[in-house]
């Protein structure tokens, strides 16, 4: 299972089954787009996202990426 969030041309996908809730993507997101809910990352404020890809770059579990499924 994976969830894609889309706002306009921006989209983010999270593979919940791979996310271990380490919080690295949340902490290093420059725009505070992400949050942890029940130890799984959730794309909360995609409208603020600048699609820099730092979450994807540092996710140790390959569980979050820019774009769709």
């Amino acid at each position: 299972m994976a969830t894609t969030t889309t706002v306009g041309l921006k989209s983010h996908t999270v593979e919940e089954e791979w996310c271990k809730g380490c919080g690295i993507c949340v902490a290093f997101c420059p725009k505070n787009v992400l949050e942890l809910e029940n130890e799984i990352v959730v794309v909360k404020r995609l409208e603020d996202c600048i699609q820099c890809g730092q979450c994807e770059l540092r996710c140790p579990d390959f569980a979050i990426w820019l774009g769709g499924k």
Binding site: A2, I24, E56, D61
Partner: protein
């Protein structure tokens, strides 16, 4: 589901991996894959070899020719692969304990031969898989399960070690600066000779807990703050260098490569027969 990068280069059915939450190994593994992708290498032409340890689990998740060998012997197996099939791009994924303790001799002799292998050491300052024993890169005074009162030994500077041993490309990057690390790995793969890339990563489970380094995020933040580019490092005083380490591409040297020299030697015998 997975990103296009994961679909292309990973064994998706083996994921999620076994590494702990926040372990930097995944970040470094992704950097290696990105480097291979940026060079446009043919997957069938890449062979990834590893030893034993947390880091050495990486090839199991990667969709290339992969070889998971015995503890410390990744470079010995990789040397065999490279000698048998010099056309392959041989990459070794190893840990700090695997490469510099039990495999220390293989490391220095692979450097000395300047054989065309790219070695990426995931340096997390501890033996993670076997339960947090201190490794040759555990900083002096830091704790491990086998050093409950602090490690007495001086730690290795792996980049200086491999420089002394004769590697022709040497760089150090971090899991925080993953993009830069990817660049170093790509440069290492392109180098015709022995390339050594030390990737500083964090083990939040063993090293982190034993030494009260905080969460995975705290540890990655510390890596970010302690890493200093080599040019800036030269301007720091001895006092300012305390608790920091330098990163960068330290050493590039053009020198004869082992498999090429071997081929020349064989060719010289054949000439004698004619």
């Amino acid at each position: 589901m997975a990103s296009t990068l994961v679909k292309e280069y990973f064994r998706e059915d083996k994921l999620p991996h076994i590494w702990c939450p926040g372990c930097g190994n995944g970040i470094v593994t992704r950097a290696i894959v990105k480097a291979i992708d940026s060079l446009g290498l043919d997957k069938d032409n890449v062979c990834i070899v590893s030893g034993i340890g947390c880091s050495s689990r990486a090839p199991g998740y990667l969709d290339f020719n992969t070889l998971h060998t015995t503890h410390g012997r990744a470079l010995a197996f990789a040397t065999g692969v490279k000698m048998a099939k010099p056309e392959l791009e041989v990459i070794v994924i190893t840990g700090d304990g695997d490469s510099s303790a039990i495999g220390g001799n293989h490391l220095i002799h692979a450097c000395r031969r300047n054989i065309d292998i790219t070695t990426i050491v995931f340096n997390n300052n501890i033996y993670g898989m076997t339960g947090g024993q201190y490794s040759p890169t555990t900083p002096t005074g830091d704790k491990g399960t086998t050093a409950p009162y602090g490690n007495l030994d001086a730690n290795f500077d792996l980049c200086e070690l491999t420089k002394g041993a004769g590697a022709s490309y040497i760089a150090r990057g971090t899991a925080y600066a993953a993009k830069q690390l990817e660049k170093f790995i790509a440069e290492g793969i392109k180098n015709k000779g022995f390339s050594f890339i030390e990737a500083i990563t964090a083990c939040p489970t063993y090293y982190g807990r034993k030494n009260k380094k905080g969460s995975a995020v705290d540890m990655l933040q510390t890596v970010k703050e302690s890493a200093v580019m080599d040019k800036a490092w030269d301007r720091l005083s001895e006092e300012q260098r305390q608790g920091k380490f330098k990163i960068g591409s330290f050493h590039v040297e053009a020198k004869p490569e082992y498999t090429e020299e071997y081929k020349k030697l064989i060719a010289s015998f054949n000439k004698g027969e004619e």
